[in-house]
């Protein structure tokens, strides 16, 4: 018994010896901006799939809400302390966590950023959606549906994060540049579906002549759909991300369409890039994981259905 154990231990040791870069179990902590949103669950699913494919171990963590920058920094420090072989990180604040990341870089831990970028050269690459371009596509969809003229508004999920700012500015800039006859009369902020619903109703109250509203994430889009249903307003609603509520709303015609990112692809990209990094492969500075406009007509197409989640 003892002998077999010893031989197998030896054999294991030899096997590890043969592959020096995997001398110990390869472990990547992946730190997201949250975990309860369906979006993050989809990123997690993609990361786990890629981890299994690459034969590495990952953990997927995030703070309770996307406002808790300090909590995320704690999670980040704890992860670095474990001395992992690589680190995936979606920064809540593009600058605040640079010192912590510097520690990881000094320890020789490869860093891959995802979702929101970090304002530094430390990450080897960033797996992300081009939020400005994606929101511009939402603006195009909305503009087309209202005949490229009239008053519109936007409900944005927050005023400080890179995604909130990127989607807001991407949407507003596109309207300003391409659609001179469209006027944005109001931009409001709401960080959950209930608040977004009451918010949209107030916007409609103040501007009864409004023809369309853009909502910048899943929660805001759910609220937008609820408000349109409750008021019976004949307006064009455009959302962002997916989730069952939003998909149903598009199917029923409450919202006319939405933009989906590729969260599963983002998760895969993070783990794949880290696996490449520890093998010494070169990575491009940014990996655009893509986005798609989806509506009633293409929701069931195979390539779109694959990136939507419930």
């Amino acid at each position: 018994m003892k002998k077999t154990l010893l031989t197998s231990a030896l054999a294991l040791g030899l096997a590890f010896g043969a592959a020096p870069s995997f001398a110990q179990e390869t472990y990547f902590p992946i730190i997201a901006k949250g975990f309860s949103h369906q979006f993050w669950q989809a990123v997690k699913a993609g990361a786990e799939e890629a981890a299994a494919r690459n034969g590495v171990t990952i953990t997927f963590e995030g703070p309770n809400t996307e406002a808790e920058i300090d909590k995320q920094t704690d999670i980040l420090n704890a992860a670095i302390a474990k001395n992992p072989q690589g680190l995936g990180f979606a920064a809540l604040d593009s600058q605040a966590q640079v010192p912590a990341l510097q520690k990881a870089a000094d320890a020789g831990i490869p860093i891959v950023a995802f979702d929101s970028g970090v304002e530094s050269d430390l990450p080897l690459t960033t797996c992300t959606t081009d939020n400005m371009a994606a929101a511009a596509a939402a603006a195009d969809g909305l503009a087309k549906a209202i005949g490229e003229e009239g008053k519109i508004a936007a409900v944005i999920h927050d005023q400080t994060s890179a995604t909130g700012i990127g989607r807001r500015d991407g949407f507003l800039n596109r309207i300003k540049e391409a659609y001179p006859k469209i006027e944005v009369v109001d931009v409001q902020y709401a960080n959950d579906a209930l608040k977004a619903a009451d918010n949209v109703k107030a916007i409609l109250q103040a501007n009864p002549e409004i023809k369309g509203i853009f909502a910048s994430n899943e929660g805001a889009a759910i609220g937008l759909a609820v408000a349109i249903k409750e008021t019976g307003a004949q307006i064009v609603g455009v959302g962002f991300d997916s989730g069952k509520s939003q998909k149903d709303a598009i199917m029923e015609g409450t919202l006319i369409g939405s933009i989906t990112q590729n969260p599963v692809g983002i998760g895969q990209c993070v783990v794949d890039s880290l696996a490449k990094a520890i093998k010494g492969e070169e990575l491009p500075k940014v990996i655009d994981t893509g986005f798609y406009w989806y509506d009633k007509t293409n929701m069931t197409d195979a390539n779109i259905a694959a990136v939507l989640y419930d």
């Binding site: 005023q159 209930l194 109250q205 103040a206 409750e230």
Partner: protein, 334 residues
Amino acid sequence: MTDTAVQTAAAGKPGFFTTSTLQKAVAFVVLIALLAFFSLFAPNFATGSNMVGIMQATAVNGVLGVAVTFVIISGGIDLSVGTMMTLTAVMAGIILTNLGMPLPLGILGAIASGALMGAISGTTIAKLKIPPFIATLGMMQIARGLALVFSGAKPIYFNDTPNYGLLSPESSITRLIPGIEIPNGVMIMFIVAIIASIVLNRTIIGRMIFALGSNEEAARLSGINVDRWKILTYAICGGICGIAGLIVSSRLNSAQPALGLGYELDAIAAAVIGGTSLAGGRGTVIGTIIGAFIMSVLTNGLRVMGVLEEWKIVVTGVIIIVAVFIDIVLRKKA
């Protein structure tokens, strides 16, 4: 001292009743003043549909405010009302959607699970002598965590329960009085408020809650089973949170497991603005409902006026401080 103060002080009743009535009146005047202000200065504010919108925006916070009013009057505090609401909504989702049980069981399950969590908070406070702030701070996290665990961190939808909309967005009163459209969620808030008011003012439960808040030691010395009434108070609070959970999940047609954090502070603010004293022993349900309306009228009015979201938050903060200041002034005079 002014004449009115002398009169109220001389009215013969114990001081806390008179100041409470007075502050309720103050809150009511503030509410009317806000409505008048926005009607004058915010175009499109004073319409029927906007009033309904304001009522609907008040429903959840109003019900949570009533829940926390019970606890605050008893001399405690409950920081878990927001996440408890979320947990009860998730419970309703599990019972109705995952287990496919009929609607009444879902309603019962939400209220019962809230009452149970509340009773647990109450027990840790009464028996283990953990300060209410700490015990319910812990419960806030426990409820939030359990909501995420039970739901698998995913929203639960009520598409298989076609009547679920009856609990909030639909308007049943239209069938009785055609032309009047008030969402059921709002009607439920008013019914909860009326029943809670009766319980607080006309029953032994209410008398015990006021006795606990006024002077717990005196209550104990006079032979009242303080622990039992305390546990019951938190259980009532939890049960009412269950009703809020039903209203919010019905309106969104889904139990959103990440929602609810921060709602406890709005609920406490509604109670405080409405004249409920954080020191305990004093407060009214009607005051809390008025407080909740003040908050949503402010939010809605400032939005309709196009005031920046950031300033709206600042104004709400100022209102809370002013309300507590009035509370202190009135208490000194009493």
